[in-house]
Amino acid sequence: MSVFVAVDQIEKVFNLSGGGQYIALKGIDLEIKKGEFVSLIGHSGCGKSTLLNMIAGLDLPTEGVVTLEGDRVTRPGPERMVVFQNYSLLPWMTVRENIALAVDEVLVDLSKAERQAIVEQHIQLVGLQHAVDKPPSQLSGGMKQRVAIARALAIRPKLLLLDEPFGALDALTRGNLQERLMQICEESQVTAVMVTHDVDEAVLLSDRIVMLTNGPSSKIGSILDVDIPRPRKRMDVVNHPSYYSLRSEIIYFLNQQKRIKKLRAKKSGATARHGLEKVNLEMGFVPLTACAPLIVAKEKGFFDKHGLDEVSLVRETSWRGIVDGIAGNYLDAAQMPAGMPVWLTIGGNQGTPLPVVSALTMTRNGNAVTLAKKFYDKGILNAADFKRMLLDSAEQEHTLGMVHPSSMHNLLLRYWLAAGGIDPDRDVTLKTIPPAQMVADLKAGTIDGYCVGEPWNLRAAIEGAGVTVATDLEIWDGHPGKVLGVREDWAAAYPNTHIALVKALLEACRYCADANNGEEIRHILARREYLSTSVDYIYLGDPNSHVCNIDQPMREYAHHQFFGDGLNRPSRTEHLWMMTQMARWEDVPFPRNWVEILERVCRVSVFSTAARELGVLDMKYHRGPIQLFDDIPFDAEDPIGYLNSLSIKRDFSVAEVAIDGRRPVTAG
């Protein structure tokens, strides 16, 4: 359908009384189709009401235009009727008079009798026959808003604009009115834009949800399509499979905005000290056993030792939080899944290449594949059994969880499935779930299994929710797990800080690798501000010696490797392998300029400087060829040839990735 309302490159600047300017909105683009219900959601002060007012014409944009059916909006008018948050009924008129005032003024072409009929009809529509002659002061909030809605609908607007219409109402009244509004909108095919800060309300009523970022210069953060069929009923909506993912998407967005605001307020620029360009660092991590080096560096004073005395660790619940933090430039550095630096650099995040460099591999191994208990009960004890089961029950849909497209879990799980003849996109469904949520999802039965780092495999096993069917030993022993990632522009701006950071973490890695420190580290990790879990689930080494019997012979455990010969040095070959795997599943194109990308991502020189200054020069350089369980050789000289040789893959593309901000040019 054609565009009904178009908001085109809107910018709104307010002049402050002090003489300054406040840019409320910037670069807002929005197209609304006829009959669509669109919600604007965001924190207070994000300019959502301002945007609504500009569509209404009550406020004019500083730049850009709003059009309704192609006509530019320059002033308010009844074809764009507004339902105000505080009802805006005239208190000296009765309900009927309030509605009649609007009808008489707008529908002047109709006869008096017709207008009266319309007023009565709309009073009935909102069920207020008993209160027609009462002034608004004698009505409850819900009734007043019903009058306001009746008044708005009675003049037959082309576009209905609702400014937090139910914000001031109690929950019960709000629920009733939402259903009523939804019904009315569906019956009379109204196009509507609603400002709200109620997530459930937005999901229930909207076809699309527009999420605005925090001001100043608010823009559209993202737009969600609500694919729940109409007519909707509240209970059906709540039970719809998309409901919770939509809801959590919005809540994630809003929380993220709140955090950005907080960090913005805190950010006071770079504090240079001890010959370092910046010592106040915000470091992101996701609570996993593998985050031990970061936490140890903080707790055991390795950051301080190397001059970084203002490091604060920022706990993210998901890898997406890390991506947003690095992309939004409010995290200085982060623990990343091994594939993330390359993934971000090639443009995995919304197609925009964001050069990120890595100078340290912090951990290897520590991952496993866990399957729900029900499979164990069916006698599926290992990878081979699972594959057979998957192939046998192809008609059944199996959902597996992984943590991020660029994480080793995803790449290894896919590789492992594909090597067994299972197409990871067609034969099973892979779902991105934050690590800490895996066990809950497994228990709820929404996923059948997952591939994730510890402690979540062990925890599922101990709690009896699932069984570990494969560990790194069966897939790729010694694969890179988590790496240190920083933005390339950050690394360029703070070179000495970067080296100091690598030194601190490398020392922390060495500390973690010493078995004598195991107990201490386990207890540090278990603390509330880090993993916030029972210490029983956390093992740096082999848990078999501690956990006597977890219902089945625990397989040989691929314990974390933190430090050792060739372990920590960033490896171009490994990054290249991950690059091929991400291209294989069409997540990102394979970069034609892969040599250049690898050069830029892998900061071996930073690592070498750090290692030399720490006096660990004796670390071996070469790790040898990449060896996975299926013994297919990986030729680092010919990655495209390698990709072509794989049987199960998507139609991957090869493209030149221009990594100075320009979009990649796709070339088939």
Binding site: P76, G77, Y87, S88, L101, E105
Partner: protein, 279 residues
Amino acid sequence: MTATLPNRATVSSRDRIQALLKHPAANIALPIIGILLFLTIWEVLARIGLIALPSPIQVLTDERSNYLIMNPFFYNSDLDQGLFLQTMASLKRVAIGYGAAAIVGIAVGILVGNSPVIDKMFDPLFQFLRMVAPLAWVPIALAALRQNEPAALFVIFITSIWPILINTAVGVREIPQDYKNVAKVLRISNQKYFFKVLIPSALPYIFTGLRIAIGLAWLAIIAAEIVMSGVAGIGFFIWDAYQQNYVTEIIVAVVYIGAVGLVLDRLVLFIQKRIAPGQ
């Protein structure tokens, strides 16, 4: 246990006072007691000679004042007539001056309230003129108009216009943005906006102004009449009585003035309640 007893006693005495105040007769009986108390103190003070004023009983019994009290309607000449008639003459002036002030004040107030430019332009002037005491206007009025009667009307007008004007302007300025937005979205005609939105919304403010103004107008007329000799009216009556040292007469006239002021205030309040009930 024992500690709570005195507590309970004070509570109960407070309760008793509450009950007393709620009793219907309290509204009439208590003010009467207050007035009687006041009159008694006055009587005593006058008797022992602490103040040189006649006592209340003297006022009632004195021949001249007694005649005035008993005959409010007699008429000998313009300057020699009953106090009711004198009051009516003053009230007539108030009605004209105050009426004009209300019309002009509300009209200008709406103009000022609607236009920030005019508001900025004249607000300091209004604030300045508002502070000029009614009596100060008298010589100016006399000099400008050269006649007692129009000068008296002008003094009332100029005294009572400011609260009306300023309050109306505030009322118009303070029309909630919501109502204005509704009017804008519906594109309500100017005429309809004026009568259906502007006036009803500003009405409580306008009445506040009118109520303050009626008190001031009544204040001003007495002051004006005292200064402008030779016009019939209760103000001049007081001045005349003072010149002839009839203090009891002055006291009777003062009672009239107070009573009329009270009645006028209540009258405006009554009208306000009828036209613009509490919103």
